[in-house]
Symmetry: C2
Subunit: 277 residues, 2 copies
């Protein structure tokens, strides 16, 4: 995984620093791997864009609702009346792009993932599982799953590309994707973010000041949370800065975000008291 | 444009009729052409999925925020740090998929469009217009438009594919796309749908009973509206049925939907009175 810095990685005329840097050393903050992000997004989002190869060799983007198998493989139920359905019969290479719901006003600041691979027709138990996975998410699927123009496909993921927002991106292999676990806290993340911003702005600010290296921060807003830590946007006299602080250990329980953020707040208080004494 | 009927166009074992048919003859209801739908969606949505060809020949789906030129051509500002940016330098074939905001619980029942073509670097006035079009929609674009790893591209649309929902789809040519006008009423459609459903359920029902061929309808809900007419979901003792009723003439003014639906209601009342007398 790479976090790009504009001045180093972009080809910038005359240099460029988008954000004020931390003033104090901050602990390294772990985050989900590209494979973990992909497993998490594909488990919880049901709409994707499928890219296939058209009959003249052009790349073809189309909307799909996909199912997800226990091993993380996406399943598709598509008709040959649709261009993508005809494309897959001709050329089995495909990629799926899944985007996280956009918080705020800039879709490019949000996370999204592309999984690329090859589709094949599932058989036996895998066919049953793929059909069930598709029907679970396709509202009207039960009406057309028996139509003979519909085919079931499973994408064998060979490569993962993750973009977390501006200058935050990474890639992972098929093996990493297969081994990665979806984040168990993902379904409660939105609620946790709202709760932190509505009721615990002081705690977020203290975390930003004492654990993220921004002692001059004057306001803090949570922008993302996951099993490994919390992303905070800090307001400082030097401008706004994105920061990330990790939990002491990864959250394992789906409802564990509250306890983890309470522990983080206690660590920030302890750091403030140690400095004051 | 084609409206598919399951029993005729799907390869259905044993036949299948998803909706109760009209009991009385209904007037033909015009709707936007695929090209008009594409021009309208691309003008009003700013997020798309781009499909490009990857270095190994695979189709690559990625998220983009695009600009739109006056002639309907989409403009892209992408970095070579992103896979799609490197792909376009190697192979200029690309397609963009843009989806309408989903109303209700089924994304596959919503409209979406794919425009396919070839990108090229704009020059002269077209370059200026493309840059402005991208910056207008890319929240942070002004920070990186000068970075030398970013390139500006314009997609020359060669083919349009539109899917309006289940079994409603069509294609259009480059010439049709160039000649088509975006629907001027699109920005007020959401508000109009809400207003009709909240305050004018009786009028919608009368329209469904008298003009759409469903005299047995007992409830009506507007699901879409555009310059040519209104889509209504009707509840009947025989099940739910989608119906469409056209305005007497296309609405030309951005704020003309109210007058057009009032006129439609008067036509339905006149038809009811003619039958009663």
């Amino acid at each position: 995984m790479t976090t790009l810095r504009a001045e180093k990685d972009h080809d910038v005329p005359g240099g460029y620093e988008p954000f004020p840097p931390p003033l104090a050393p901050a602990e390294p903050a772990p985050r989900r791997s590209p494979a973990e992000d992909a497993r998490t997004l594909l488990l919880h989002e049901k709409v994707a864009t499928l890219a296939t190869i058209s009959d003249d060799g052009s790349p073809w983007a189309s909307l799909v609702v996909f199912g997800i198998l226990d091993d993380g493989s996406p399943a598709l139920l598509v008709s040959t009346l649709a261009e993508h359905g005809r494309n897959l019969i001709r050329d089995q290479r495909a990629s799926l792009m899944v985007a996280a719901p956009v918080r705020g006003n800039d879709p490019l600041a949000s996370g999204r993932v592309t999984v690329l691979g090859t589709v094949s027709r599932p058989t036996g138990e895998r066919e049953v599982a793929a059909r069930e996975a598709c029907l679970e998410r396709m509202v009207a699927g039960k009406f057309f799953v028996g139509f003979r123009d519909f085919s079931l496909w499973v994408l064998d993921v060979e490569r993962v590309r993750w973009v977390g927002g501006y200058g935050v991106m990474g890639s992972d292999s098929a093996a990493a994707y297969a081994a990665a676990e979806p984040d168990p806290t993902a379904p409660s993340a939105d609620r946790a973010i709202d709760h932190l911003n509505e009721d615990h702005g002081d705690a977020l600010l203290l975390i930003g000041q004492r654990l993220a290296g921004y002692p001059d921060a004057t306001a803090a807003k949570c922008t993302a949370i996951d099993r490994y830590g919390v992303d905070i946007q800090l307001t400082t006299p030097r401008g706004k800065a994105p920061a990330r602080v990790g939990f002491a250990e990864p959250v394992a329980a789906p409802d564990g975000l509250r306890a983890a953020t309470v522990a983080l707040t206690q660590r920030a208080r302890a750091a403030a008291e140690a400095e004051a004494s």
